[in-house]
Amino acid sequence: MQRQIGASGPLRHALTIARNKSETKNFTPALLTALAVRFITKSFYNTSVIQMTPSERLDATFIALSDPTRRAILARLRDGDATVNELAAPFDISQPAVSKHLKILERAGLVTRTNVGTSRPVTIEAGPMREAADWLEKYRDFWEKSYQRLDALLEILQTPLNTDKPAKTKKQRTDDDA
């Protein structure tokens, strides 16, 4: 049963405990599925971005994005899921090295790996990237608003002094009248 659903780590552990505690006949397929979903979800939450503060998530995202190999891995994953072997192929680095990069991407929540089968395909996740983009948007907003005030200030500084204007207009009118 464990092998069929590809249980590993916390799930296998939980199932073993559960099986030892109660009678095996109670484990209907539906209950096993529910248990599997619960433990996969739980183990995902425990190791992922969900528990981090927004600030820590951004740390993780930007650290993850600060490496060319990891950016290339993400670029490849935009075209669809891939296994570690497939991801390692274009690079001149070992599969363990790629796995190490994947761990950093996983920690930032930029990729997820399904616990199905032995190949464990890697999927790109858009959420954290969006948070990073949101920050840049706020930074842009800070400077754009400041610069808009600078625009207004520059315009004022370039406008001839007000005291000259009415006098000139008045003089012109007088000239025209005469």
């Binding site: 927004p54 600030s55 820590e56 951004l58 740390d59 993780a60 995202t61 930007f62 650290i63 600060s66 490496d67 990073a132 949101d134 920050w135 840049l136 706020k138 930074y139 842009r140 907003d141 800070f142 400077w143 754009e144 608003k145 400041s146 610069y147 005030r149 600078l150 625009d151 207004a152 200030l153 520059l154 315009e155 500084l157 370039q158």
Partner: protein
């Protein structure tokens, strides 16, 4: 109206902001170097600039403090490391709360074409991790800190 600014993150430690202004370079230069002019444009909307000190010479110190409507004060300071009038200003920047973990080196370069000035600001952090730390603050969290302080003040007032 000038075009909106562009923002890029080349390399793993830099943030580059480019913006054009409808004014000659000499004037833009003054707006970056005279405290009475800096006060009139720099900072977050609705925040008040309580301190704007500029000792505009190489090795001179600058210090800015801005205050949120909720009373939260954000201070930053540094030294001018290079001044090439009217082309380039280089300065270090450290936030009081050390949000950026080791500060940054900021360079603003000004170029002029047909009476218009392009300002290119490059902010370089000490490491990719420091840029990440900076990215996580203060734009996003600074405001939140402000609101939290306001919450505390309101709670105190209500309890009194």
């Amino acid at each position: 109206m000038p075009k909106p600014l562009t923002i890029t993150t080349p390399g793993d430690r830099d943030i580059v902001v480019v913006r054009e202004f409808d004014a000659p370079r000499d004037l833009v230069w003054l707006c970056y170097s005279k405290p009475e002019l800096v006060r009139r444009w720099y900072g977050l909307p609705d925040w008040q600039m309580t301190v704007c000190e500029i000792d505009f010479r190489v090795g001179g110190k600058w210090r800015f403090v801005t205050k949120s409507p909720g009373g939260y004060e954000m201070g930053s300071q540094g030294l001018y490391t290079a001044i090439a009038e009217p082309e380039r200003i280089a300065q270090t920047e450290y936030y009081d709360d050390d949000w950026t973990k080791g500060g940054s080196e900021n360079v603003v370069a000004f170029t002029e074409h047909d009476g218009r000035t392009t300002a290119t600001m490059t902010v370089t952090y000490s490491s990719p991790e420091a840029r990440a730390a900076a990215v996580a603050t203060p734009m996003a969290d600074g405001m939140e800190i402000g609101f939290k302080r306001l919450d505390a003040v309101l709670a105190e007032e209500l309890a009194a």
